[in-house]
């Protein structure tokens, strides 16, 4: 079955703001996602002792995989948000290109730091590890890694300044764009659409995260180059995890706008902002910043009330997501007789994966559980769930939509096989991680005991499926880019 999309049916008139820049960004994102997945496959195969990998190289690949995946998730999320925000506000193309150039500069510095300088201190650059390499890398390599982050941070800052400026110009204030008029029951002749509500929230919390992240990066750089300048380690850890937590969450909150803007084309029901939706996003704005303490539950010197807040907000932060986006998606899809092509399948999967991924996250956010599980495979299990089955699926769904044309058709054989392979591979891959965590297998270890190899090898097989399906998605996207719209 196939149907033709007519303007005005469901979604806003399908304009294509800065589509060229967005397509270039998505090509880059797809290529880096694939490469980083191959890195992940290599690590799992090495842990399973199917291939030999020098432990020093393992930690370099681990660092590249972490930084590369977080960066690419953010890049693809930013491209999606920029594209759909462009339907509601006029954005300056030059700022996006500057953002992309700074991002690529950062990537070059980071890759150089890792594969030329030998930096292997993980993507979290946790103080004082970059300065205490034990001879594995020089201070210059760690400095190049952090300068790469600074370049990416500056790029994102420009991005949010432009986004925030245009939203402010259009709506008069960010709180109006956050839907406060809807919340307070005031009349608003121009209520913000869901994409703008999301854009306003992400602009606020990620700008704060980037400014604080820049402070700790520069302080760490000063310490690296002038070791006499000490940094308060606990404060540095707080700032790093605030920045890191907010940044990776922002990538999903940016990418979810693809669900708000694209799914209505399939369901025929426009996704509109209402009081509950606005309340949920305002709650997200607070929760995403207040929950980062759940990363520090093993730091016994932290004030206890902060850890308690971290645990409580971990419970609460799932509610706006599950109650609004996931539940709304279910309602929109239910009874809509929508056509299941690659785009709609991946987008619905992404909402489901994101929601499911929040459950192991909430479990790990409990102090009593975290004491046992924090340094196990449980943690990569939960974040791979909401990234692989959440953000990355949103990005692939958006890519499929960009080259879909005006006609919606049921999935062909290849699409169906690729989607099924991706779903089976990703679900199996994260399940193995969670089982490994429950079996107390530690994370971030290059060399595994004999008893753990079965887990690693099953995980490796599933990761091969993920890589294969991803290759199909990316190659399909690139080959269809040049085609005329049907």
């Amino acid at each position: 079955m196939s149907i033709a999309i007519e303007p005005g049916a469901g979604a806003p008139a399908a304009t294509a703001p800065q589509a060229g820049a967005i397509k270039v960004t998505m090509i880059l994102s797809g290529a880096v996602f694939t490469l980083m997945m191959v890195f992940g496959l290599i690590m799992r195969a090495a842990q399973g002792q199917w291939i030999e990998l020098d432990p020093a190289l393992f930690y370099q690949i681990l660092t590249a995989h972490g930084a590369g995946m977080v960066g690419t998730a953010a890049l693809s999320g930013a491209a999606i948000l920029w594209y759909f925000s462009g339907r509601h506000v006029v954005l300056t193309a030059g700022i996006f290109w500057a953002f992309l150039c700074l991002f690529l500069l950062g990537v070059v510095l980071i890759l150089g730091a890792i594969f030329i300088g030998g930096f292997g201190g993980a993507w979290t650059f946790l103080f004082p590890l970059p300065a205490l390499s034990g001879g594995a890398w020089e201070a210059g390599a760690a400095a190049a890694f952090m300068l790469g982050y600074v370049a990416i941070g500056v790029g994102f800052l420009l991005y949010y300044l432009e986004l925030g400026r245009q939203i402010h110009a259009r709506y008069g204030s960010l709180v109006r764009a956050l839907g406060w008029n809807l919340i307070l029951g005031r009349e608003d002749d121009n209520p913000p659409p869901p994409t703008i509500v999301a854009a306003a929230a992400v602009t606020i919390f990620n700008s704060i995260g980037i400014i604080l992240g820049a402070a700790v990066l520069i302080a760490s750089l000063v310490h690296l180059l002038v070791p006499g300048f000490e940094v308060n380690a606990l404060l540095a850890k707080n700032l790093i995890y605030f920045f890191g937590h907010v940044f990776i969450n922002a990538s999903i909150y940016m990418a979810v706008t693809a669900v708000y803007e694209i799914l209505p084309e399939y369901t025929g029901r426009p996704w509109k902002s209402n009081r509950v939706f606005a309340l949920a996003w305002n709650a997200v704005l607070i929760f995403v910043m207040a929950v980062y303490w759940h990363h520090l539950l093993q730091d016994v010197v932290m004030p206890p009330w902060m850890l308690v807040v971290g645990q409580l907000v971990s419970y609460f932060s799932g509610i706006p997501l599950i109650a609004v986006t996931a539940f709304s998606t279910f309602l929109y899809v239910r009874g809509s007789k929508m056509t299941w092509d690659l785009t709609s399948s991946l987008l619905v999967l992404s909402v489901a994966g994101w929601s499911v991924g929040s459950i192991p996250a909430s479990i790990d956010g409990m102090i009593s559980v975290n004491k046992v599980m924090h340094n196990t495979m449980w943690v990569p299990g939960h974040f791979h769930t909401y990234l692989l089955l959440g953000e990355v699926a949103m990005a692939f769904g958006f890519m499929a939509w960009l080259v879909r044309g005006k006609t919606i058709s049921e999935m062909g054989t290849l699409d169906r096989a690729a989607f099924g392979t991706y779903l089976a591979g990703a679900a199996g891959f994260v399940t193995v991680f969670l089982f490994s965590g429950a079996a107390s297998i530690p994370r971030r270890w290059a060399v595994h005991y004999e008893e753990w190899l079965t887990h690693d090898r099953i995980g490796t097989v599933f990761s091969v499926l993920v890589v294969l399906a991803t290759l199909v998605f990316v190659v399909r996207f690139v080959t269809r880019l040049g085609r005329n719209e049907d």
Partner: protein, 186 residues
Amino acid sequence: MKMMGLTVLAIAEAVALRGGTIESPIQHVLVQMPLLALAGMVGVHELRIRQYWAIPFLLLALTTFLFWMLPRNVDWALTPAGELAKYISLPLLLGLPLRLCWPRLGPILRGFLKANALSMLGVLGFLYTHAPIRICNSYLVSAQQDLGFAFLYLAAALACLWALPVLFGYPRWLPDAAAGCIKCGA
């Protein structure tokens, strides 16, 4: 004329603080130095420059700012030669060019400079509160730590000052000119 009066007042207050600057780095770095820069800003409040001067003036202001951020220069500013340099350079090479170039800068660049100022205040707070050595030889370690916390409080205050109008919109009771003033960050 009113602006010239304010300039003289700012310089007079800065001079009157001479004694306090020897005792407290907060009075020196966060009161006297900003007053001197403010004197330069207020003195040229009505003047306008051509667009092509904006970036050179900005670079001049930033260079001067960076020079006086260095702790050894804060020490030097308490010597007679350094004091003279401070009284001349902060109004003329920081306040004046910053005020003249600011309205000519694009909104993204202004936003970037503000965000960068907040980050750098955070970095200074980081360093001054935890440095195991005296960064400025003229001040006690305890005074240095106080200065570090003052940097953090200032960062928080400026973040609120700059973010509130963006979050909640510009107050309607402000005249247009004042709103423009907030928008340009003056």
